[in-house]
Symmetry: C2
Subunit: 146 residues, 2 copies
């Protein structure tokens, strides 16, 4: 099934999903946040066919999430680096990571841990807060249509 484009949707969630493209693309962003820059590094991390990975990378560049730069070592390779928009997906990935740890892992099951570089501690849990700092549950919020 061809995926319907959400590009014209007025909903910011739908447009985000459209801009990111698909799940694989989000894992590419995850690896870029972790320091991957070269085609081969993404391929190794994701085990994805070359043609598929190429198409995904190209789309992420078109969407302004990645940009290409000459290789840092002066070789003929090009490297992929996150734009400022791409870097801001960090929050989305942390949210998915924290949800996944609660929902998709058994207690004690080993998993990679994203920690504070300064002291090795786990990050704080993301919290949805009101402007005045109260923690909000879904039912404490309301959607105002455009």
């Amino acid at each position: 099934m061809k995926r319907t484009s959400f590009e014209d949707a007025a909903c910011p969630v739908a447009r985000s999903l459209d801009a990111i493209g698909d799940w694989w693309s989000l894992l590419i962003v995850r690896d870029a946040l972790g320091g991957a820059r070269r085609f081969g590094e993404f391929q190794k991390g994701l085990g994805m066919a070359r043609n598929i990975l190429s198409a995904r990378l190209r789309k992420l560049v078109e969407r302004g999430i990645l940009e290409t730069v000459p290789a840092a070592d002066g070789s003929a390779y090009q490297e992929y680096v996150l734009t400022e928009s791409g870097r801001r997906l960090f929050t989305v990935l942390v949210a998915l990571r924290q949800w996944g740890l609660q929902h998709c892992f058994e207690a004690g099951e080993p998993h990679p841990r994203l920690v504070d570089r300064k002291n090795g501690k786990l990050l704080a849990k993301l919290r949805v807060l009101a402007a005045d700092g109260r923690e909000l549950k879904p039912e404490d919020t309301r959607l105002l249509l455009a």
Copy 2:
């Protein structure tokens, strides 16, 4: 292309993506958080073919994100409500929404706004924080493998 399952992946991000299923499923969760409970309400919100919507709803129930309950009005319909795990996807959706507003909308372009029910104000921006409350950028973090 058949999507590879990330179910066995050790990465919590990958497992989350696998559990959620696909972009459409996340929009179903969005609408459920907004109060949709009946098949027809989801269909109206998403404009999705009945058979596709049925399959997505069934998968979300299998994955423990939605559960079915008898209709509140005592009719023969069944309704779909979020489990506690499903409700926790709120944070993921707020993260996607805030990213989309920055990245996918022109300044001044109208869009639905998620506001604090108590005072109608926009929510605070989600922030990735260390255990001690410092705000963290991607490069302030490190991934420790399992």
